[in-house]
Symmetry: D3
Subunit: 169 residues, 6 copies
């Protein structure tokens, strides 16, 4: 049994995440997906709740050919104990897939195997870019799985983001 | 879409929980399972980590004929905001299934529909009884799904509980 | 200007508190009333929210001939810094009125003047006794000001307490 | 009974707040005033303690023709549960008066009525501008009620702010 | 370089702790002494502050022939991350000396070497027994190093404990 | 007995700190050294854990002719209670040595004596400058005591900082 771990804030979950997870699925028997900063929502950087992000990810991966767990992880604001915190909230995993330098360093110091997945069209496929487009009214739907568009529509996610930004014209 | 919510500490997950969830599955399109006191582990009342409990539940429900989410929920130690906390961590749900008087009252005050499922052989099928049997070396395996026995064996769960109790003979 | 400080959990506010505050009013230009354990509610020991307790106290003291402040104080769970915490949340005060040994000791170590008010019919006029009567269905209304009975009725306070206790016959 | 809610950080309380509250008083039987970020003080953005702010507000509103409550509200750093937190600390209210986009959105998602009061000479009547004047030694007293000047003088508020800024010439 | 780790609450530090540390000193180049529950004080179980306990230990060990560190460790209330928390606050250590079943289990699960030191006259040499004697006015001074008696006298420790207990005759 | 208090984040401990402490040693019988933001590590501003900083300081001061305590102090994020927090974690002290405006103001408001030590070649001897040099690969070793270089080498501190910065070429 080989279980891989992948963590992100998924604000929102997009095609770049999807591409990475499809890649990880090839090498894993099971995947644990951690939703970071789970306690944050309704900010410009973190508009969606953990529950909304659980929904986006689960629906978008419905046809993934690999069992997966989606686990909200609240911030603990202490890097030195963050790995222990993550591990207490998740089924045990063998490999960490991450391109985040801090995440890589923390798992490396904890003695775990860390692998950097290839990024998928990173310039456009980033949460920051997608949130920017939502705010400015640009097309963002083509950057996320259909299921994610549906979830964001249902919860009025774009309207929420614009309202928070105080630019709700 | 009718989504039901069920919460417990699952220390450990047992046949009583399984029976309730199989009942809830008949009435729901999807089930959200909250793991309460997710941050606790390695105590006499809460021996298992959230990640270990995620594993028990997911494996035991592998053949359940209803999609489900398993979400660790850390305690927030403030009853008046607990429902909002739970809802921020979970996909939206319509019905709460619970027999816990406090949980029922808190969701009721929040204006949600609460239903009490029938309990399954409650005297023996309780976490407290199972932990008691683990400590005293009695048979407990017949009270939990096979998958749970496997998880507890893998992590040395009985040994951990006995060691914590200082009764490790 | 002589400002007195009085703190309690007020679960609920009763005639004993009222008698003490009427006494303190004689010696003070203003009174600061701290609501302790403000973050707790919906438990057997602490059934009412801070906001509900603010309402009870303010209404019951409506005709007190001394200006007063009612300030919710969340627990900080560290006795050595509790006095500094209280003082940061309240207008400055000169005298502490308390019969609680820990409160007295903490303010004493901080170099403040502490005075023990006479207690009013303490055996019956205690939050514990009133909550016990609410649970068992006994008469409790005669132990609290009329305004408090009204608030508890409005919020369904007795029903809430009984439900939490799981003894709601 | 119609109770309105108004929240701010009040660093410090100024004539703009006063004008808004006088307006709200016309439409309300009672007003609940929440002091946000109550736990913060002694910073450039938040120089005054909650207790000092309680004092400023209470004194400045002494002749307001509407009963009011002044309630310190500590930050909870989780937007999704902030409304529940506020409501647990305050008497129940019917209308929220706010011009803050995040506050408006959070109460709106909670299903409450939110109204935007007219702002009073906003360019000069802002906490930021008043703190800037305090730091640079400019006239700020004309922007706040007299009672607020008195409180700030008593506690050495301007000196505190300048000292924290390290520009205490 | 062989560094040993020893942790206790030291409420108060007594001859039993001293005997264990003198034993550990024989096997170590340096000792790290962790003061557990550092944030607690002024309770019946935890009367002394972390700073007071630092003072007791440092003075009592003044002539120990082994360099040592005394580090207050605040509780983190999550067993699964407690070892990581301890290690982030202390210089790295190789061996854990403990007789506490939970401490032993947590370090064991983290893959560290744990050794149980012999206890010294455990029945009388326990914090609980010493605090009991302080409360009842019995002789306790013979159970602690002289330096500890001095510290407790300076801070009025017995008076504090009796006052908290409400039995200050 | 005259005990002085000195606090810093020591990220890392450098010759400027050493010079100040040697000066304080002349005026003190004992020194209490507080390690601020003890819970932080693995960030660009705070790369080292509290335990690593304890090690740096203790080794660098090995030949100081004045007994000293090194105490990690976790942030409490509330300035108004920070002094009480510090005092609960440390042996009692009489004089505070600090050049930090906020630290000076907070101890001043608490009624304590605060003295500003002369700074030693401040432009180069700052944690910020040393971390900048570590990141850019410049010479930094001449700005810290030898013992600190050793500790940073042992833990791979420069590599950690570069990795976190994502500039690890």
């Amino acid at each position: 049994m080989r279980r891989g771990f992948y963590i992100g804030r998924f604000q929102p979950y997009h095609n770049g995440h999807q591409a990475v997870l499809e890649e990880i699925a090839k090498w894993s028997d099971e995947i644990v997906i951690g939703i970071g900063s789970a306690q944050l929502s309704h900010t410009l950087e973190n508009p969606f709740t953990a529950g909304e992000r659980v929904l986006m990810i689960t629906r978008a991966l419905q046809s993934l050919d690999c069992p997966f767990y989606v686990i909200p992880i609240e911030d603990i604001r202490r890097n030195a104990i963050w790995v222990a915190h993550v591990r207490s909230m998740t089924p045990p995993f063998d490999v960490v897939y991450s391109s985040n330098p801090l995440v890589m360093q923390l798992f490396h110091e904890a003695g775990m195997t860390v692998t950097s997945p290839d990024m998928y069209e990173r310039a456009t496929h980033s949460g920051r870019e997608i949130r920017r487009r939502m705010l400015s009214g640009d097309e963002w739907q083509n950057l996320v799985p259909h299921a994610v568009t549906d979830v964001i529509d249902e919860i009025g996610g774009v309207r929420r983001l614009q309202q928070i930004a105080g630019t709700d014209e």
